[in-house]
Amino acid sequence: MKSNKKKEAKKTRRFFSVFGIPYAVFLILFIIIPILIIVYYAFTENGQFSISAAASFFTSWAKWKVLLISMFVALQTTIICLLIGYPLAYFLANKKFNKNTVLVTLFIAPMWINFVLRTGATRDLLTWIGVKGGRMPYFATLVGMVYNYLPFVILPLYSTMLKLDKSLMEAASDLGANPFQVFIKALAPQTIPGIVSATLMTFMPTMSSYVISDVLSENMITLFGNYINTEFGLGSWNTASFMAMIMLLIVGISLFINLKFNKDKEGGRTQLW
């Protein structure tokens, strides 16, 4: 009887594992193989093993500069998004100020509009109010980035703020914390998971995005993404692949940091990553 049951269980497992095959195929075809191809190109030249791509990256100040600028833009975008999104999410999640979810939906609605379309519209809008990409490319890019990624900051912060334990804030106040100290010591620590997700959801895509800077700065600002794109366009696949790999590494590292941050927090349902 028992062994029968075991066999049965094994059979069902095998039966259900059939459903996994499409996912496995997808994984191999669209994720693993492309990554392997990137790594292959990054370390070969004309089919031979070579570190020339690596050498050209590490010795080129121009490439480093682009990487640093990209990181700087990403960092700036993230900080501005957080500064705008954090209080906004707080008020949206607070029943005292906002009793329905319509406002929340409105704030994250831009997420559902086609990205290229949206960026084009942003450019026209900015031009219309006098912020011409050609004249202030950096500012225009930043505005575009913040506008694009603000919903990604609001959403995770909003969902953490919904679950705020108000009694902790009361406890802090009871123990002698003034409103500012209550914020620092009782509210902010509770929202760390939200801040981390929001940061990653802004920082990583801004690092690699190039459409926004292309469109809004009228090609006057080159970010890392633009650079990789140009290199591919020029046919230097090895250099481009190596740079893509560097990008992948940076993204991987930031994901790893996120994991570290959230390790001892139970639940973790607020995380979008």
Binding site: S173, D174, L175, G176, K185, P189, Q190, I192
Partner: protein, 518 residues
């Protein structure tokens, strides 16, 4: 005005929350160093009262004085009051030490400034310069260690909150509050989440702590046993009002009304009548008593189950001068048995250490001073703000009830148009006439479910009075109907009520002449 050593004083405090009166004009003085328990069922306003003392809520009306100073609008962080929260509200991202040290790290104390030689630094006016400074890490260490010692958690300083048991978290919450040396410690049902044994232990420990610390404790609970065990003073609350304030002994032995008696300890409550001086009739028998009430007055009688003396008698005796009954239920409770004795139509719960059998016929004796007689709460529902609408119905809190309006004038009739015609031919238009409506307690019928009667409501309290239940139904419009009924209902049941037209007694406010149609 206030008592000499009164530390906190609530003066006519009300709180209206979301349009509902949660706390209704309460006044309370609390003596320094007392252990005060605010006792009441959920929703009676006890937690709101505590939150107003803590400063989380600002009273809609009234004042709160701390040592004679008005603190009504002072924010919580400026009050020398600390709270132990119901769900502890410990900071999960801090360890035990940092949780306890939280308040200390924020605290600033005045430090007189001295120069390197130890001479006081003086300002222009020749007064010593005093700077507000944070406590030194050493001081904090000492204070935290002391607080943790008081709650028996010395070894757990470095532990994460999430690794502690409920009881340990409770202790951390207490340590976190007392470490700040508050003048008043507020405790909001702090033992609610613990199991029975832990709870009993903590009760004694809290009482001990209170003795050691010598500060005022204000404790909120719905558990009457907890209140009796720990308090110096108990404040019984109901529906936003204070029902009684007194020592545990007073409250238990001399409850002011049936509600308090019912809430504190087990009790038998009967409707009785004073038959002669110091004689009261209930359970179909006249008992001697020690409370002096006017003869023939309706009273409520409370008898504690442990005060009833049973004596077994052989065969049913038809003697009028003894009160006798039959045991119908028997439950073993460890220290004693609990019997239910049927006496005529009524029953009485009795606690007795002797083993008796179901079916035994017993004589019931109660010592005169164990019969507690209270002024009866209510014999009739009186609605002072009723009025007549144009269909000649009476509106009690806007709900229409059919009624016979001709009772307002003797020998009057109604004509086709709904005017009241007096015997002498005078015509009255009663639309909008203000009246007082009275309905007897037993004339109201409770019907299960909404919309089956004239008015909807929810059952807010049930008191068993020996042979019937006294039920309070609160309508959607916040009017309360008290009903005597044979049938058992549950608290929070949604019901409708119905009153027969002839059972509503109306009295016109003022002179009926002003409604006369010329």
């Amino acid at each position: 005005m206030e008592k000499e050593n009164c530390i906190i004083s609530l003066q006519g405090v009300s709180k209206i929350f979301d349009g509902q009166t949660v706390v209704d004009n309460i006044s309370l003085d609390i003596t320094k160093g007392e252990f005060v328990t605010i006792l009441g069922p959920s929703g009676c306003g006890k937690t709101m009262t505590l939150r107003m003392i803590a400063g989380f809520e600002i009273p809609s009306e009234g004042k709160i004085l701390l040592n004679g100073e008005d603190i009504t609008k002072i924010p919580p962080y400026k009050r020398p009051i600390n709270t132990v929260f119901q769900r502890y509200a410990l900071f999960p991202y801090l360890d035990v030490y940092d949780n306890v040290a939280f308040g200390l790290k924020l605290k600033k104390i005045p430090v007189p400034q001295v120069d390197k030689k130890g001479n006081p630094i003086l300002d222009k006016n020749g007064e010593q310069v005093i700077k507000m400074k944070h406590l030194s890490p050493k001081d904090i260490d000492q204070k935290v260690a002391r607080a943790l010692r008081i709650v028996d958690l010395e070894e757990l300083e470095d532990r994460d909150i999430s690794t502690l048991s409920g009881g340990q978290q409770q202790r951390v919450a207490i340590a976190r509050a007392i470490v700040n040396e508050p003048e008043i410690l507020l405790l909001d049902e702090p033992l609610g989440a613990l199991d029975l044994k832990m709870r009993k232990e903590m009760q004694l420990e809290l009482k001990d702590m209170h003795k050691k610390l010598g500060i005022t404790f204000i404790y909120v609970t719905h558990d009457q046993e907890e209140a009796l065990t720990m308090s110096d003073t108990i404040v019984v609350m109901k529906g936003g009002n204070i029902e009684q304030v007194g020592s545990p002994m007073d409250i238990y032995n001399e409850p002011r009304n049936a509600y308090v008696a019912n809430f504190i300890g087990e009790s038998n409550i009967y409707g009785g009548t004073m038959t002669a001086k110091l004689k009261v009739r209930f359970l179909n028998h006249v008992f001697d008593c020690v409370d002096d009430f006017p003869v023939n007055e309706k009273v409520d009688v409370v008898v504690r189950p442990e005060d009833v003396i049973l004596t077994k008698i052989e065969g049913k005796k038809d003697q009028k001068d003894i009160c006798q009954g039959v045991i119908t239920e028997k439950i073993f409770k460890g220290v004693h048995f609990e019997y239910l004795v049927e006496v005529g139509k009524s029953e009485i719960t009795v606690q007795d250490t002797r083993n008796r059998e179901i079916g035994d016929i017993v004589k019931i004796d109660i010592e005169p001073d164990n019969i507690h007689i209270m002024k009866v709460d209510l014999t009739v529902n009186t609605f002072l703000d009723a009025w007549i609408d144009k269909e000649n119905r009476v509106r009690i809190s806007e709900q229409p009830f059919d009624v016979d309006v001709t009772q307002l004038l003797p020998n009057s009739t109604l004509d086709e148009e709904g005017y009241l015609i007096a015997a002498n031919g005078k015509k009255y238009d009663l639309n909008d006439a203000d009246v007082i409506a009275e309905v007897g307690l037993s004339n109201i019928e409770i019907i299960d479910g909404y919309d089956n009667g004239q008015c909807n409501g929810v059952i807010v309290s049930i008191i068993y009075k020996g042979d019937h239940y006294q039920i309070m139904v609160r309508t959607d419009e916040e009017e309360e109907f008290v009903v005597d009924t044979m049938y058992s209902w549950n608290e929070n049941d949604l019901v409708s009520i119905s009153i027969k037209p002839e059972d509503i007694k109306l009295t016109i406010k003022g002179d009926i002449a002003k409604y006369e149609v010329q």
